[in-house]
Amino acid sequence: MSTLKEVLEGTREVAKAMGVTLKTLLTEPPVTVEYPDEPMAVYPRFRGRHELRRYENGLERCIGCCLCEAACPTGAIYVEAAENDPNNPVSPGERYAKVYEVNLLRCIFCGDCEAACPVEAIVLGHYIDLASYNRRDFILTKEELLNPPVPNTVVRPDA
């Protein structure tokens, strides 16, 4: 007797729970993402692939001061600075980064480079699709850093 009662009660509870599932299935949007077929949303302060930013007038923000390189705990950044041609400057002031490389295999995405940068040139962006078959592809050149696949939002206008 009591066995039959337990079976019936159990069935009702299961049906009740499945009702919640059914209701949620029909009324609420899915929380999972069909990655990589669908884009992955990230939080605004997410630290993804690096990018180098420009001023609105097109000049590069980076002045080649190497502070990011000094701050980097894993030695992932390499900067080689040079002197600007005053008639055709790359960045404001006298100095710019001739070479800027980030080794993503070394990077731990801590954001210290961002914090060290005095001109907000290097930022960690929202791009996270970092897989490749070739190790060389993980060394981002200055050209790649200046043209990120998913640009970050402009934080502050020209200084």
Partner: protein
């Protein structure tokens, strides 16, 4: 004897030397008073006011500048009192008002006294919100130094350095108040040869190195204590490297050698080691063309061919030319390889056996600062050793040292009070004979008979007049010079290579030595080597008749000592010297030559034929020189910054030059190449060739050369060690009469050669920014130029019986009429092309092209 007095700083009693500056006394007690304008090598000034402390006096406490205040016994000073701290904070705040704070792009950022002191003593925040004063930010003071006037804090260090050490007041302060700037005086060039020292002295980033600018941040540099190899002084410097590239050279203090200065050549001409034309792999001649080969192939071919030629034609058919530009280890191993394995004594280098240099070089560089009379004979420290020149200028302006200059040009030192003799090339011997006569007469000492006899005179008076006549000098001036040297307590006496080789140099060197001997200063007579390791290469036995330690080849005991060290038998037959080897090669008697870091064909095109006649020529060098182009095997050597080694400077100081950067391509250190070839040559019998490191090679040198006994790589330390100077013989040496080489209508001019600092040679011009600065012209007296119809910059042909060169002319009244000065290392115009049997004293003709 130092008088010690007691002073009180912040209530603590400390001992101070009477009369020393308060900053120095405090530093000894561990109180480091901040300074900007004060520098231990410069006179106190008190311009920056950073060192304010309170001093108690009869009228209460007053703020004083500690860097200009000598301490007094019982003085009471307050460094940490609220008023003193406040005053220093205020000073820093004022200094920073117009400082641009562009530290992220400033080369000094990271090693900047202003940054450090702001952190330690600054107020932490500024009350100044207004717009800063803007000044020139990229202002070229010269081709090598850039001034950022905004960063300048007006400490005057650069101004004072140029005045106090270079005696060239070229920089000054202009305008007033907040607009004050440093600038050159009108119509003045910043051309002092040690001008780069002001970059090191600048306490902020106002003065920067044009060539190194923006190529490093101080914290990321690998710093190697090394030396400079551009001249014989061997100044101590630091090589700063980042990512396997030399970024800059900065001076390093060594009171015995260079104080704290290096010249602009040592500082800026650093590009040769990373030059794109460096040899990066071994080359071998295949079908008439030099083709890249592997190291193992090159070593095998060199060893086997040398062995075959030595067996076939006898060891005398093989020779080696070493170099005064490379390390002791490289020269030692090349000499050892030739003597111990090949069995020949055909060994020399360009400044080797032909140069009449004393074994002991210069007594001591540091003596120059204390000199009371400066005698320069055929040497020009301003061009040949610019840091030594600052010492000599210091002696002249601080101690009133007078000059006696014997030089074919009116060199820079002729601007100081003294005498300048300008004998025509070939007649210098007569001048020194006259000086010897005048000295002996002034001392009332007998004149040896041979001396007046040289001039066909019966007595000293007549001989003096006759010799002065030959030298075209005023007898009264000769007597004055002789009296000055007799009266001098600490004279600086030096002669250089220009008087020590070629026609008549035996007599000339004997004559100038005789003068020093007659005046009782034989032990002070020194030789100023112009190549980094001319002293060391000779010490290593890179000479046809001398063994390591300069022991004669004929010394049986020395040979036995080396035989046991090298496990071999040594030949006692003296070898051929540099010139004799090339002559033997041309005649086909010398079959194989091993040339290390030398370029006979580039220096004297006539020698190219001798090299081409060789059956086998091996060249080991940095670049594909004219000589290397004629080689059968070319071995790429590592430059001195890429390999470790020791160098011995002109005052016999053995100094380390450790490896600072990795070699380019497949280049290998000179000593290591020789080790590999020797081990292959020895074919299993390698017991004597078991020195796997440069330290081990140096340890073997210390055993082979008695003068180096007791030295080791470790105990050389960062400042090097001198070995003791061999005793000098203090007797007059008879010599032959020297007649000036004849000039005639066909060759009416006398050639004068010499070194200029900005020489346009391979090593100098390899730094692109320097290439434009090198001297490119031959110098002619304006009178002669007018007679020839030549003007500044015109191209002229200089011709001798031996050859010709084509160069632009530079008109300069500092040379003697009737002479033409052709500096060494002119590009495409090697003065060696002109040398006939009179060598550097050849007669030449000049014509417009």
């Amino acid at each position: 004897m130092t008088d010690w007095i007691t002073i009180t700083i912040d209530g603590k009693e400390i001992q101070a030397k009477a009369g020393e500056l308060l900053t120095d006394a405090a530093a000894r007690a561990g109180i480091h008073i901040p300074v900007f304008c004060s520098h231990p090598k410069l006179d106190p000034l008190g311009a920056c006011r950073m060192c304010l402390v309170e001093s108690e006096g009869p009228r209460g406490r007053a703020l004083i500048t500690a860097c200009t205040t000598p301490v007094v016994a019982g003085g009471v000073y307050h460094y940490q009192s609220p008023r003193a701290v406040d005053a220093r904070q205020g000073t820093l705040e004022l200094i920073l008002i117009n400082h641009p704070l562009d530290c992220p792009i400033c080369d000094k950022g990271g090693e900047c006294p202003l940054q450090n002191q702001t952190l330690e003593h600054g107020p932490g925040k500024s009350q100044f919100w207004e717009e800063k004063v803007h000044k020139a930010k990229n202002y070229p003071l010269s081709d090598l130094i850039v001034l950022d006037q905004e960063r300048c804090i007006l400490c005057w260090r650069c101004i004072r350095y140029l005045q106090e050490w270079e005696d060239k007041p070229q920089l000054g302060l202009f305008h007033r108040g907040g607009e004050t700037v440093i600038d050159r005086f009108p119509d003045t060039e910043l051309d002092a040869y040690t001008s780069g020292s002001i970059i090191d002295l600048c306490p902020v980033g106002a003065l920067t190195n044009r060539l190194a600018r923006f190529s490093y941040r101080p914290w990321e540099l690998e710093k190697t204590d090394s030396i400079c190899t551009h001249c014989g002084q061997g100044c101590n410097l630091r090589v700063d490297v980042r990512t396997h590239r030399v970024r800059r050279h900065v001076a390093r203090e060594n009171m015995a050698v260079n104080d704290e200065w290096i010249c602009d050549k040592g500082r800026f001409a650093t590009g040769f080691s990373s030059h794109p034309e460096r040899l990066t792999e071994p080359l071998m001649r295949v079908d008439g063309q030099l083709q890249p080969v592997s190291w193992s192939e090159a070593v095998k071919v060199v060893a086997e061919t040398l062995k075959r030629i030595a067996r076939q034609h006898g060891p005398q058919a093989v020779g080696a030319i070493g170099s005064a530009k490379v390390s002791n280890e490289a020269n030692y191993l090349l000499a050892k390889f030739m003597r111990a394995l090949v069995g020949t004594n055909n060994l020399d280098f360009r400044e080797g056996s032909a140069l009449r240099a004393p074994d002991g070089g210069l007594p001591a560089l540091a003596d120059a600062r204390e000199a009371d009379l400066i005698v320069l004979m055929g040497c020009d420290p301003a061009e040949e050793a610019p840091v030594l020149a600052t010492f000599l200028k210091r002696a002249a302006i601080r101690r009133g040292a007078r000059m006696v200059i014997v030089h074919p040009r009116a060199i820079e030192f002729t601007r100081y009070p003294g005498l300048h003799f300008q004998p025509a090339p070939g007649s210098e011997t007569a001048l020194f004979d006259a000086l010897t006569l005048a000295t002996r007469m002034a001392r009332g000492e007998p004149i040896p008979d041979w001396l007046p006899a040289l001039y066909g005179a019966g007595n000293a008076e007549e001989a003096l007049a006759a010799a002065a006549g030959v030298a075209d000098a005023d007898p009264a001036a000769i007597r004055t010079a002789a009296e000055w040297l007799l009266a001098a307590q600490r004279p600086f006496l030096a002669y250089g290579p220009d008087y020590a080789w070629g026609y008549g140099s035996d007599a000339l060197v004997a004559a100038l030595r005789n003068w020093a001997v007659a005046a009782g200063h034989a032990d002070r007579l020194g030789f100023l080597h112009t190549q980094a390791n001319a002293q060391g290469a000779a010490d290593m036995g890179m000479l046809p008749d001398r063994l390591p330690g300069r022991r004669p080849l004929s010394d049986d005991e020395a040979r036995r000592h080396l035989e046991s060290l090298w496990h071999t038998q040594l030949s006692a037959q003296p070898g051929l010297g540099y010139g004799a080897m090339l002559a033997a090669a041309e005649q086909g008697e010398l079959k194989a030559l091993y040339i290390m870091a030398a370029d006979p064909a580039g220096e004297k095109p006539a020698d190219a034929a001798a090299l081409e006649a060789l059956e086998f020529l091996v060249v080991q060098d940095l670049f594909l020189t004219e000589t290397a182009r004629r080689a059968h095997v070319v071995l790429p050597a590592a430059s001195y910054v890429e390999s470790a080694g020791t160098f011995t400077n002109t005052e016999r100081r053995v100094q380390r030059a450790p490896q600072a950067v990795r070699p380019v391509g497949k280049a290998v250190a000179d000593w290591l190449i020789l080790m590999h070839i020797a081990r292959f040559y020895a074919a299993g019998q390698t017991a004597a060739w078991d020195t796997p490191s440069v330290e081990a090679v140096f340890a073997e040198i210390a055993r082979a050369a008695p003068s180096y006994a007791g030295l080791s790589w470790e105990n050389l330390g960062h400042l090097g060690q001198s070995y003791s100077r061999p005793a000098t013989d203090a007797a007059l040496t008879p010599h032959e009469a020297v007649a000036p080489p004849p000039t005639d209508a066909a060759y009416p001019f006398r050639l004068v050669v010499g070194n200029l600092l900005w020489d346009d040679g391979t090593v100098f011009a390899a730094t692109p920014a320097m290439a434009g600065l090198g001297h490119k012209a031959a110098w002619l007296h304006p009178q002669d130029a007018a007679a020839l119809g030549l003007q500044e910059g015109d191209r002229a042909e200089i011709r001798s019986s031996a050859g010709r060169i084509e160069v632009p002319v530079h008109l300069d009244a500092s040379i003697r009429p009737g002479t033409v000065f052709v500096p060494y290392s002119l590009k495409n115009a090697p003065v060696g092309a002109l040398f006939d049997r009179f060598g550097p004293r050849t007669a030449v003709a000049i014509a417009r092209v």
